[in-house]
Amino acid sequence: MTAITSSFFQVRATASKLTKYPALLAGLIILIAAALICFVVPLFITESSTAMDMRNRFAPPLSGGSLLGTDEYGRSVLARVLEGGRTSLLVGMAVATLATISGIVIGLLSAYYPLLDQILMRIADGLLAIPRMLLAAAWSAARGPLAVTLVTALTIASTRVMARLVRSRARAVKEEAFIDARRVQRASDFRILFRHIAPNCVSVVAVHACFIFADAIITEAALSFLGAGVPPPAPSWGNMLYDGKAAIFNGWWIAGFPALIVAITTIALTMVGDGLRDMFDPKGQRPRGNLWGLLLGRRGTKW
């Protein structure tokens, strides 16, 4: 019983802490809403994302029985956006998770073993020099556009920065005296690595993972837009943009809605990342005026 009540209080504490960061809260809400819409709602809608209806092409939104209109093949934009959302969100999630894990591992290893460090960092430098999208595009081009290759490509491209971040954080923590104290107590290297240094990196990792997620969605969209991503007829936000662009004068909604939703999702993710960073930063101690004060042009805080 106590376990439940104590975790209840923990949740309450976290929740009240969250309200101090409106941007973070808003971002999280949007994200959860987006996920729900993409994964849960389709269970109730029967519209197909690939069924073509040539008599009903280019139907504008809210007409002809389709909420968001139809595209050049008469397919429901709404259904395609939702399915594309599933793809994009899953890809983003996968990339963020994989890149985080590999980034942590590489970062920690190179922080602890200087020889490995030199080699790994040189490679990372070289990889960093190649613009991320080009790297992903080239990989996709070589292996053929499959979801798996896409995820791999994006993961490779995203790991480098995460690895560097973890490495610098780990090194900073490593210098701290208490690690040496543990060594004196004969804790094995492995243990030190994972039990002590890792938790300290959590804040940095969490923040950056959000940005990787956002980047992955964007890069996937960009790649699909360029034709190197998810191949048609399966919808992804990116290739809907591609189709939409070609048909831009016939139906703005074909590209418009995916564009809007990608924008909202990535902005939400960025807000979450920013919010997390603010939350973890002990230096944000200046008294903040509230939003009303801002709008009314009040300078400083009231006494």
Partner: protein, 319 residues
Amino acid sequence: MISYIAKRLLGLIPVLFVVSIVVFLIIHLTPGDPARVMLGDEATEEQVLELQERLSLNEPLWTQYVLWIGRVVQGDLGQSFFLGTGVVDVIGERLGPTVTLAVGALIVALLISIPLGIAAARWPGSLLDAGALGVSLIGMALPSFLLGLMLALVVGVQLGWLPVAGYRPLSAGLWQHVRYLILPTISLGVVQAALLIRITRASMLDTLGMDYVRLARAKGLSERMIAYRHAFRNAVLPVMTVVGATFGSLVTGALVTETVFNIPGVGQLLVSSIARRDYAVIQGTILLTTLSYVLINLITDLLYGLADPRVRLGNSGAR
């Protein structure tokens, strides 16, 4: 200063080495035989063998790399499989529009971000500050091609004010040249400005808290003078570094934006090469792009050295 430059140049070598290896390996990542993939299913055995010979695909990997690097260093990036001409020529033709776009976007970005960043730092917590951070948030979350598409939709399609596709070279008249570039440059520039606004603001906030700013104020200088002459001169240093670092995203943004607005630059070339599996062109483009990115970083580092007297004159320290 000389030693500073020399150190920087030396640091480039391992990076370029790794890059060249990665780029080289791309062609060999394809499952199956590259020659067969390029020629497609219809190809005959002779054609495949002949292509393999031509591309030295039967040699051990090491040898191929050395051969390739040897040619690259001499300026020969190979032949475009589909266009028949040298890769260097092909890219060269397309360079103009891309460079114009990138440079234009950078100028737009700087024009937006620096005054906004400075103003946001001078009046933190104000509506202006919130606005600047808001613009920055949008710019950082939105990819440039998306912004470009949205701008195209609203300004080009709905309002019809500006053209949404195509490119007119300078020879067609200055206004025409610019007209077709307005939307793409803005969409690319705004996204670049996003991060720069934040960095400028943060850097200015740091600088404005410094003791020498306090002294400048105690001297009776106006806030404006303090912000631009004392604070900004110091604050600009990290901003410069970030400009160099984000050049990579500027370039990739340019490449994608070209596709949105049908601008015949290197981006479109890359896209079609990817579709056609024209590996030589893909390799060449990536190599050149990376090289330019690395060079830009070097140049910004050098400019940083020029701007900061502590670096320029060497750390001779106190006398």
